[in-house]
């Protein structure tokens, strides 16, 4: 397994380099190519300032030199390992570790690296929140549909999943904002942003008059969740026995109870942030849930008819155990594989979500950068998005190697 992973890690480098080449080629192939003039154009600067900037760029990037040299110089700038360059643009010293110089953004007048440091974590937060929700939701729905194959639930859910998967995030986001976050209909959620102004200065936890009330904030939801799950497990009716659904319902009931009974003076930073994140995360994850749920169902059905499942039944293993211990564990494998295609779409989805909900993340920055023709910013963002995807691939590879003994013991 180690050899397999090492090999995947090693291939990461040329892939990343390849991305830089592709991006650079796009730059170079554009009308006007890469020249100081195109980098500077579109900015409202006085002629002298423009001239100075043009000369600066020519020196910095060697824009009057052949393309391959330009590419190498640009690569040198953006990589964390390379040569430092001095005033006149010449390279000095030996290759060392240095901070990547991604250039300066025109619109914000700040180094791109700073902008990225601020915005990338926001996008990562959105995605990290969405990913587990997607997987848990998809598995719950997929398993339920596969176990009830041919039933009305199965047919209805298949149809609903297909419609959800086809619905563009823009439409869903717009509808959610229009109905749940607007003045005209139900104003349950904020229209945008990550926090209200006040919440940024507020304490982390909600402000309550007493410590007891503060405790209740946690105890109540936990208690209701536990109650509902226990009730579900004991239930005689097969339809009510789903512990995950029961748990979610319990959680929701708990929060409602809290809202109604516990006196809260101010929501505090955490709750405010969560409240702001609900609609964006829903918009980001529903498509993934729909796609993965269909895949889960298909994979489960395929494995339910497999030879080893028949063997397990022949051994006298109860059906529930067959489902979870045998079928599900094998069905997980294609789910992990498909993460590779899910990640890029999540990061791309962030663009739409952030634009719609006015969240200052990487995606929104990219759109603004394109609109303002801030080319350096666009390039850096594309590179970072590629890097994030590759990291995600690596995590998926590790997960797959852990899950599938055939890979683990193959090398």
């Amino acid at each position: 397994m180690l050899g397999y992973l090492l090999r995947r890690l090693l291939w990461l480098v040329p892939t990343l380099l390849g991305i830089t080449v592709v991006v650079f080629v796009v730059m170079a192939a554009a009308p006007g190519g890469i020249s100081a003039a195109t980098l500077v154009e579109g900015q409202n600067l006085e002629p002298e300032a423009k001239q100075a900037l043009t000369e600066y760029y020519n020196r910095l990037y060697g824009l009057d030199q052949p393309l391959t040299v330009q590419y190498l110089r640009w690569l040198n700038h953006i990589s964390p390992l390379g040569w430092e360059s001095d005033e006149s643009g010449a390279l000095t010293g030996w290759p060392t570790f240095k901070t990547p110089d991604l250039g300066v953004s025109f619109r914000y007048g700040r180094p791109v690296a700073d902008l990225l440091a601020e915005r990338v974590p926001v996008t990562v937060l959105l995605n990290l929140l969405s990913a587990p929700i997607i997987y848990l939701g998809a598995i719950a729905i997929g398993v339920a549909a596969a176990a009830r194959r041919g039933s009305r639930f199965d047919h209805l859910s298949s149809l609903l999943l297909l419609v959800l998967w086809s619905a563009p995030p823009m439409l869903v986001g717009v509808l959610l904002i229009g109905f749940f976050a607007s003045a005209e209909y139900w104003h349950w959620f904020p229209t945008g942003g990550l926090s209200t102004r006040e919440a940024l200065d507020a304490p982390f936890w909600p402000v309550t008059p007493s410590f007891g009330a503060w405790l209740l904030l946690f105890v109540l939801p936990l208690a209701t969740t536990g109650l509902f799950v226990a009730a579900a497990r004991r239930s005689k009716r097969a339809g009510l026995r789903h512990p995950v659904v029961a748990g979610l319902v319990g959680l929701a009931v708990g929060f409602l109870l809290v809202r109604v009974t516990v006196p809260i003076l101010a929501p505090g930073f955490l709750f405010d942030r969560i409240w702001h994140l609900i609609l964006p995360v829903v918009t980001l994850s529903y498509g993934g849930i729909a796609f993965l749920a269909k895949l889960t169902r298909a994979s489960l059905l395929e494995h339910l008819a497999a030879d080893f499942t028949r063997t397990a039944r022949a051994k006298g293993v109860p059906e529930q155990v067959v489902l979870w211990r045998h079928v599900f564990r094998n069905s997980l494998l294609p789910l992990i594989t498909v993460t590779a295609s899910l990640l890029p779409s999540l990061i791309a989805g962030s663009v739409i979500v952030e634009t719609l909900f006015s969240i200052d993340g990487m995606g929104r920055l990219a759109v603004e950068a394109v609109q303002t023709r801030d080319r350096e910013l666009v390039l850096s963002l594309t590179l970072i998005s590629g890097l994030l995807t590759l990291i995600g691939y690596l995590v998926a590879d590790i997960a797959y190697a852990v899950a599938d003994p055939r890979v683990r013991y193959e090398g």
């Binding site: 050899g3 090492l6 090999r7 090693l10 194959r149 041919g150 008819a305 497999a306 030879d307 080893f308 028949r310 063997t311 397990a312 039944r313 022949a314 051994k315 006298g316 293993v317 109860p318 155990v321 211990r325 045998h326 564990r329 094998n330 494998l333 899950a403 599938d404 003994p405 055939r406 013991y409 090398g411």
Partner: protein, 556 residues
């Protein structure tokens, strides 16, 4: 061996959920404790369905609930009822299946899968107790308990997996073992071992066994009584001696007659006797006279094909898989040479090497007197027509997107056989009819035909080019015994009629005995024995050959 029946089945009938014709009708039989009943039939006879129905394993959406009565002594209730079946599965009745690779869960260790049986049928055992029981079960099937218990299925060989399956089935001490073609997917030598193991275990545990198979040789080795199934019904039942030596039902007789060892001897060509017994003697004599009988068709010396093994991060070559390691093979005109080998012997590689589809690492290959080893593609073109191949899998040997007529006539056009398209079409039609296929075959697509028919189409397609050497790569291994008999007999006639040479790959010694003039035994890429069929079969010298022959029932 008591005479009280352990399992009694009465009137078992199985139909499809939306079908009217029963797939299995009115089956009635019984098995006593310690006795083995073999259920024999060709594909589609319903024997597998019967086995699955007895354990309640038939998928409910596809099949209607099975009708009839099945009772196990000591258990109340009808086994065909799902609740009763659920109580009985694994604990009192166990089952082993045909494909051990796909029958085991790939992501659980073998030990864990065996322990699972105990988890549900021996709940009083502690985890340590379970572990001990698992080790005991594995040792009983002659496996290294510690190593195998911690291994995953993909790390074991076919024989080891089947033994593990047997251990898994027996660990809960069932009274009845249902074995659904457990050795069909295994090599002949391994098959013999497994059958031996099953017999030993059965005696040791005083277990009854229902053994499902299509292989009549196996029946003799493992069963006490036999039930013959045809189209969902039992047509004959009795002791092994009764049914094999004095079959009463015409179907049983046909089955027995189709065994390669029971076929009438094939017509001998002019090579053997100097005279032919074919239908048109004049033609045969002319054919014999025209060609020198020692003309070399294929002359391969010291064939070596090595595949590099690459390991590690940088994929360095650490060794070689020696698929062919110094193989000599000669075939003369009109000769049938059989190459016998099991899996891993290198026979598939040999086929590809002889056809020029696999480059040789070393060695010489001459076809029709011309050296052909590692020559470029265009140099092979003149030879192509004269060497043709028929493969094992009838479902992958014909392009599903083209009609049969186009498939047969296209190569003919390339090699300029026939004066024009109409002529080629007629010749194709003649070949198709000669192989017993319906008249409209040429206009149809492959998926409209059964496996046996597709195999015959593949043979017609190969013969339409009028080759001098026909390579047959296990062409009858996937077919029922009656179909196999038919194809073997046709081939034998063609050899005589046309002076065709055959390179016949097989693992079935009985087929070798029927069809081949000479036999070459291949083991791990090397030729361990070769010679005239009669010599090798009656006085084998190499221990591997002896093992093969014993396993095939030749030296008892």
């Amino acid at each position: 061996m008591t005479l009280d029946p352990l399992l009694t089945v009465e009137g078992l009938t199985i139909t499809l959920a939306n079908g009217t014709e029963p797939l299995v009708s009115d089956l009635t039989f019984s098995i006593a404790a310690g006795e083995t009943l073999a259920l024999v039939g060709e594909s589609g006879s319903g024997k597998s369905l019967t086995a699955q129905a007895l354990l309640g394993l038939l998928p409910t959406g596809v099949f209607a609930p099975a009708l009839g009565q099945a009772t196990l002594s000591g258990i109340s209730g009808n086994l065909l009822v799902p609740d009763v079946a659920a109580r009985v599965r694994g604990a009192h009745v166990a089952m082993i299946f045909q494909e051990p690779m796909s029958a085991l869960n790939p992501v659980m260790t073998v030990g864990a899968q065996i322990a699972e049986v105990l988890e549900f049928h021996a709940p009083h055992l502690s985890p340590l107790g379970r572990q001990a029981a698992v080790a005991a079960a594995l040792t009983e099937v002659q496996l290294d308990a510690e190593r195998i218990a911690a291994s995953y299925p993909h790390q074991l060989s076919g024989g080891q997996r089947q033994r593990a399956m047997i251990a898994m089935a027996l660990v809960a001490q069932p009274k009845l073992l249902i074995a659904d073609e457990p050795t069909t997917a295994l090599d002949v030598t391994v098959q013999a071992e497994i059958l031996q193991l099953l017999r030993t275990l059965q005696r040791h545990h005083a277990m009854a066994m229902l053994f499902i198979t299509h292989d009549l040789d196996v029946v003799a080795q493992v069963a006490d009584r036999v039930a013959v199934m045809q189209a969902g019904r039992i047509v004959e039942m009795g002791t092994v001696a009764e049914v094999t030596q004095a079959p009463k039902h015409p179907y049983t007789r046909r089955l027995w007659a189709a065994q390669p060892r029971h076929l009438p001897p094939r017509p001998k060509g002019c090579r053997q006797t100097g005279m032919s017994t074919s239908a048109s003697p004049n033609e045969a004599d002319t054919a014999c006279a025209a060609v020198p009988s020692d003309a070399s068709i294929l002359d391969a010396r010291n064939l070596r094909v090595y595949f590099p093994i690459q390991r590690g991060v940088l994929r360095r070559t650490v060794g070689y898989v020696k698929a062919l390691d110094g193989v000599d093979l000669t075939i003369r005109r009109g000769e049938v040479v059989a190459v016998v080998g099991e899996s891993g012997s290198g026979k598939s590689t040999l086929v590809r090497a002889v056809l020029g589809l696999q480059p040789l690492t070393a060695g010489t290959l001459s076809l029709f007197g011309t050296p052909m080893q590692n020559r470029p593609r265009h140099a092979w073109q003149p030879v192509r027509r004269r060497v043709q191949v028929v493969f094992q899998d009838p479902f992958a040997s014909l392009n599903p997107k083209r009609r049969i007529g186009a498939l047969i006539t296209e190569p003919m056009a390339v090699h300029r056989i026939g004066v024009d398209d109409a002529d080629r079409w007629q010749r194709a039609q003649a070949w198709v009819t000669a192989l017993g296929l319906p008249a409209e075959t040429l206009q149809r697509y492959p998926h409209e035909f059964s496996g046996g028919q597709r195999q015959r189409i593949a043979i017609a397609k190969a013969l339409a080019l009028e080759p001098e050497l026909l390579v047959c790569d296990e062409i009858t291994s996937a077919l029922d015994v009656t179909l196999q008999a038919e194809i073997l007999q046709r081939l034998a006639h063609l050899v005589v009629e046309r002076g065709l040479s055959l390179l016949f790959i097989t693992h079935n010694m009985a087929v070798v005995e029927y069809l081949a003039d000479r036999v070459v035994v291949l083991y791990r890429g090397k030729v361990v024995e070769s010679g005239e069929t009669a010599t090798v079969l009656n006085r084998p010298e190499h221990p591997y050959t002896q093992q093969l022959l014993t396993a095939a029932g030749f030296n008892r």
